[in-house]
Symmetry: C2
Subunit: 253 residues, 2 copies
DNA sequence: CCGCAAATTTGCGCGGCGCGAAACCTTGCG
DNA sequence: CGCAAGGTTTCGCGCCGCGCAAATTTGCGG
């Protein structure tokens, strides 16, 4: 037996139950159509690009769930399932794992947009928790098993997890400015980013908690509680403001 | 032609400034010797394994900093620099990126241990901030440039970042139980994990903020402020206890 | 001090991935 | 209609991740 990794990594490969393709299709159907995000639906070109991008991501997800692990899926198969050439896959993503992470990034962005639309009078935590719960538990009842497997794939599979975490930080980039405005702070302040990061972490931790074998609490309740807690940060004022400077808005990663 | 020349090609990608090998060595010298963590120093075998593991990690870091990016380093070179065969590298790590992430995981663990040693009378946030600042800014003054480049490599490089984020979550696994005990909560509660995740995010966000071109605030101050803010969560009690309360003593992840 | 069993390293080889380069096709616009 | 810009595909190469089995090192009695 080779030296290999720490104790938990060996276990972390908790094999996924298989999920039918039809369930995956229905899951995918829950994500809002591109028409719902009108901003970048300009040219036909852009739309087709987003379309194949999403096709690739969901092809990867579907195959991974079917076969009980992304490591049993080759990029060639993902490309074929998405109806493009193998080379094209790598025009969009550097790896299979990144392709799966991308859908998490999209979800994060929707959360930020939805939160921005909430009326300012609403309590901060309540509004945020509502938005998060709505996004993360969409179609939860009819497809609970599939949602469970999908979350497990994204946050437990030790190959996917790093890219999942990476994609999730997009939530912070999107959410921090919204929080800053809502709190009347400068957009480049550190404080809103700390709050956004806490919320991001809360979502993840609640999900990991839900996935544990020895716990059975409803996902909705866990998410709500965790997000409410993290959002509590926004109530207390920042300890001090750092000497910051002008902000030329963010670069992507 | 195996041409891996391109000196300014790396620069064009917004990559890292070069750092001398000697600086890397001094940086490495700052991490506590394994004797300081007496728990797993049992057999000679274990010690040698940890030794080569660290050798591999730091070889990867050194080469990446020298060449302005991990993408210009081959695994074979890392192995050679660490004095093992190429095959052995993959006995320890699945990828170069994971090798670099490992040192962050170790650091996270040291933080949790140090925090556990703080007297319970100390204010929660102060104690935690002290520990974090001490760990993350060790040798900061004489080696500021090198520390900066190292942090940039780990949190900005889009190849390394996912694995960095993944390794950093180890802080939560280690810190959550300590927090739980300090707050007198059950070890498997969700609340301490939310707090730990917030702290983890705070450290990361402060570091990213420090790395920005348009900001110059001292790293120490940014870290302290962010951690203090996140630690504020521990002051307010959890909104409610999750319904899935009764749990067997489970461990990590 | 020795030898044996277990643990670790190493050499070898294979399948697949990531990506550069250039040709090919499609879209947008005058 | 035609051309420029941009996306897709084909091809090919270098390297990576890892299974396997032989070689080597370590730990432990005898």
């Amino acid at each position: 037996m080779p030296a290999h990794e720490s104790p938990e990594h060996a276990e972390a490969r908790g094999s996924l139950e298989r999920v039918s393709l039809e369930q995956v299709e229905r899951l995918r159907g829950l994500v809002p159509k591109l028409a719902d995000t009108p901003e970048l639906t300009e040219s036909l070109r852009e739309r087709k690009k987003l379309e194949t991008r999403k096709n690739l991501s969901w092809a990867a997800i579907g195959l991974a769930l079917q076969r009980g692990g992304l490591e049993h899926v080759r990029t060639e198969e993902i490309a074929e399932a998405a109806g493009v050439s193998p080379r094209t896959f790598n025009n969009y993503f550097r790896s299979r794992e990144e392709a799966i992470g991308a859908v998490a990034g999209d979800r994060a962005r929707r959360v930020a947009l939805a939160f921005a639309d909430r009326p300012a009078e609403e309590p901060f935590g309540e509004a945020l928790a509502d938005v998060v719960v709505a996004e993360y538990t969409a179609g939860h009842e009819p497809l609970k098993a599939a949602v469970f497997q999908l979350r497990a794939l994204m946050t437990t599979d030790c190959g996917v997890r790093p890219f999942m975490l990476n994609a999730m930080t997009k939530l912070e980039d999107e959410l921090a400015p919204v929080i800053a405005e809502r709190l009347g702070l400068p957009g480049d302040d550190l404080f809103p980013r700390v709050v956004a990061a806490a919320v991001n972490g809360a979502i993840r931790v609640a999900t990991e908690y839900w996935l544990r074998e020895d716990v059975d609490a409803p996902y909705t309740a866990l998410l709500r509680e965790a997000v409410l807690t993290a959002a509590g940060l926004a109530e207390q004022p920042p300890p001090l403001s750092p000497p910051g400077a002008s902000l030329p808005e963010n670069t992507n990663l």
